[in-house]
Symmetry: C2
Subunit: 194 residues, 2 copies
């Protein structure tokens, strides 16, 4: 099958997402990925210069998709956007549990570059939520509490997601509801408490 | 100075705690630790069989101290013990910011064994809090929500601690108060909401 450059790149990222979710960095072979894609090893290295570049690109794209899906809803009240964003976030976790767990633990014991991606994704979540806030809340006397509270909120969401991946005994509505209550901690205004 | 076996071991752990907090695994040399302690390299390896064993022991002991300090108060209401535990936790973070950050990010990009210690410490926190709960709460219909909520609570506490290490603009009372509200999410009964 002939694919154009973008399609080929996407195909390789999809194959990498699956491979690196299922096995460790060392256990994934570039030859096997190239064979699955039906291309030569040389062509794969035309898209990603090294195996490590490939590994990093796969995780960067997954993190970007998570952010895009969580902020897909551009209208509605802060509360509605929060609930929609959390549903999208936990849907990503359900559908791609292995990728998510790899991403979150990713850095762990494996790779400082992937860990930097996770940390900057975390900060992007916080910044994008802050941007939506009333400036008085974002920059006023409570600014440091809002920032720390939002960081705590992200910590809760990640912990809930990892708990779900392990036990799978909460419904998505239960997860969203626990997370909304965590937001009530950080910014009551967003969680619907005024 | 002659020290007995326990004192010597403790001295080496203290030196390691400082060294590994300030520098990466590779940058710490066993020769330098032995010289600081005034003992031979051979004697150090009598206490810790390899540099990696030493590294792991240092982090295990730090994690144990954190748990011991957080659960030091054995009496009082659940709310009083929560507040005392959180004060002790954040005091540890303030006094040993580098150790804590190393411990939490430790695994990250570095060591799967240390990461396993962090993960099991996290689970120990959850288990010890659960043990103090009313059995009806611990094992009843809400058990899965309590477990997930407690995991979220730990996620919040860790995120708050790392935020404090980075920005240092919250008082300990503010940190404790945010964390108590996070507990209200998991187990309202412990946070004083009935």
């Amino acid at each position: 099958v002939r694919l154009n450059v973008d399609e080929r790149r996407q195909q390789l990222l999809d194959l990498g997402m699956r491979a690196f979710s299922e096995r460790s960095y060392d256990a994934v072979s570039i030859d096997e990925i190239a064979a699955e894609a039906g291309i030569s090893r040389g062509l794969l290295f035309h898209y990603f210069r090294t195996k490590h570049d490939y590994y990093v690109a796969v995780h960067r794209v997954a993190a970007e998709e998570l952010v895009r899906e969580a902020f897909a809803l551009q209208e509605g009240s802060p509360y509605e956007r929060l609930v929609a964003g959390l549903h999208a976030y936990f849907r990503f976790v359900e559908q791609r549990a292995a990728t998510y767990a790899t991403l979150l633990r990713a850095g762990v014991g494996s790779d400082p570059v992937v860990n930097a991606i996770v940390e900057s994704t975390r900060m992007e979540f916080i910044e994008r939520i802050r941007e939506q806030l009333d400036p008085a809340l974002r920059d006023g006397a409570r600014a440091h509490l809002v920032r720390a509270g939002l960081r705590g909120f992200i910590g809760t969401v990640e912990a809930l997601a990892l708990d779900w991946i392990e036990h799978r005994d909460l419904t998505r509505d239960e997860l969203v509801s626990l997370a909304v209550r965590a937001m009530a901690l950080a910014v009551p205004e967003v969680a619907g408490e005024r």
